[in-house]
């Protein structure tokens, strides 16, 4: 993955608009957060292979960026996106990596289903 170039990422996101696409969205502090730091409120969310059709997608802000997808009757967004790549399957993989390389957030868009 490379550090986000906003203009390029914007083009890529737009290329998935108005199509049925599979989404992976994840936020995480890691399962050990509460173990290493007593009293830490560990929250996160995960969806994978949910199909949506967004009409408008935007990259916003300086790095770490926010990425939002406007759906016909709803929204998806991710905050903290720093890295991206298009993989060999043509899937757009975006992630927010902390300084030491730990993933904190991921948003991925694909025309084909992700694995299990």
């Amino acid at each position: 993955m490379e550090i986000v170039k906003p203009d390029h990422l914007q083009e890529l996101i737009t290329s998935f608009a108005n199509k049925d696409v599979y989404i992976h969205l994840e936020t995480t502090n890691g399962s050990y957060a509460g173990h290493f730091k007593e009293g830490f409120f560990n929250a996160g969310a995960f969806i994978r292979n949910v199909v949506v059709n967004f009409e408008l997608g935007k990259v916003a802000g300086d790095s770490p960026h926010r990425v939002g997808l406007k759906l016909p009757s709803g929204w998806i967004y991710a905050q903290g996106i720093t890295h991206y790549t298009v993989d060999v399957h043509g899937r757009l993989l975006m992630a927010g990596l902390e300084a030491e390389g730990k993933l904190a957030v991921a948003l991925e868009i694909s025309e084909t289903p992700f694995t299990y």
Binding site: G30, Y32, F46, T85, D87, A95, L97, A99, G101, T115
Partner: protein, 227 residues
């Protein structure tokens, strides 16, 4: 002193769960000629270490960790690795009965005299606790005289309050090179920690030496069942 077993069945949810606390014990069993089956439930798909610069992404990580797991098994001399195909961080949401059946099938096939897994409720990660529940429930259903011994790992902060001190302590110094090779095999998860550990070992840090050379287990007590 580690005694010879008929067959050892190790059940953990993530590649590398075996590395810190069990890889020495597994290596010793293999050197004794004891068959060891390692059922690894997931490929650690949701691991957070991707590196910066990134060496992996969310979709390539499972294949990297699979190769690491295979390399780790080779380091331990373990030749019966089962990758069970579940997804990281979802074990507790699977059907409980399906999980019990998964363990039951493994036990019926391998007929172990010893099973090694986590202790339910004292293993910190939800996948650890969920795997442990399935293991305990599957063995509990067996006729008492046919049950394999169950050695568990527990490392929650309140472990000593609940279970006291571990009753099984395996000294694994004869295979410390294999243990270090196993830890290094899981590079995507351990490379930072190993740098630290090797430094501590060079300085003869007693805690690091203890951690490397001794593996600790609680024999599951059926008269003090967790549920």
């Amino acid at each position: 002193m580690i005694k010879k077993e008929r067959h050892v069945l190790v059940i953990f949810p993530h590649p590398d769960d075996e590395a810190f606390g069990v890889s020495g014990t597994i290596s010793i069993y293999r050197e004794m000629g004891v068959p060891v089956t390692y059922a690894c439930l997931t490929l650690g798909e949701m691991g957070r270490n991707l590196g910066n610069p990134a060496f992996a992404n969310r979709e390539t990580l499972p294949q990297i960790r699979k190769a690491e797991l295979q390399k780790a098994c080779k380091a331990m001399g373990l030749d019966d690795l089962r990758m069970m195909g579940l997804r990281d961080k979802t074990i507790e949401f699977e059907d409980d009965e399906k999980m019990i059946q998964l363990v039951t099938d493994l036990i019926e096939e391998t007929n172990p005299s010893l099973v090694i897994s986590f202790y339910p409720g004292l293993s910190v990660h939800p996948d650890h606790d969920a795997s442990a529940r399935a293991v305990v429930r599957a063995i509990r259903r067996m006729t008492e005289s046919e049950r394999p011994v169950l050695h568990t790992i527990a490392f929650a902060h309140n472990t000593a309050e609940v279970l006291g001190e571990p009753d099984v302590i395996n000294e694994v110094s004869t295979v410390s090179d294999k243990k270090i090779a196993t830890l290094n095999a899981h590079a995507s998860q351990t490379v930072w920690m190993m740098r630290e550990m090797e430094k501590k070992l060079q300085e003869n840090d007693p805690e690091a030496i203890q951690r490397l050379l001794y593996e600790r287990f609680y024999t599951y007590q059926w008269d003090k069942d967790f549920e």
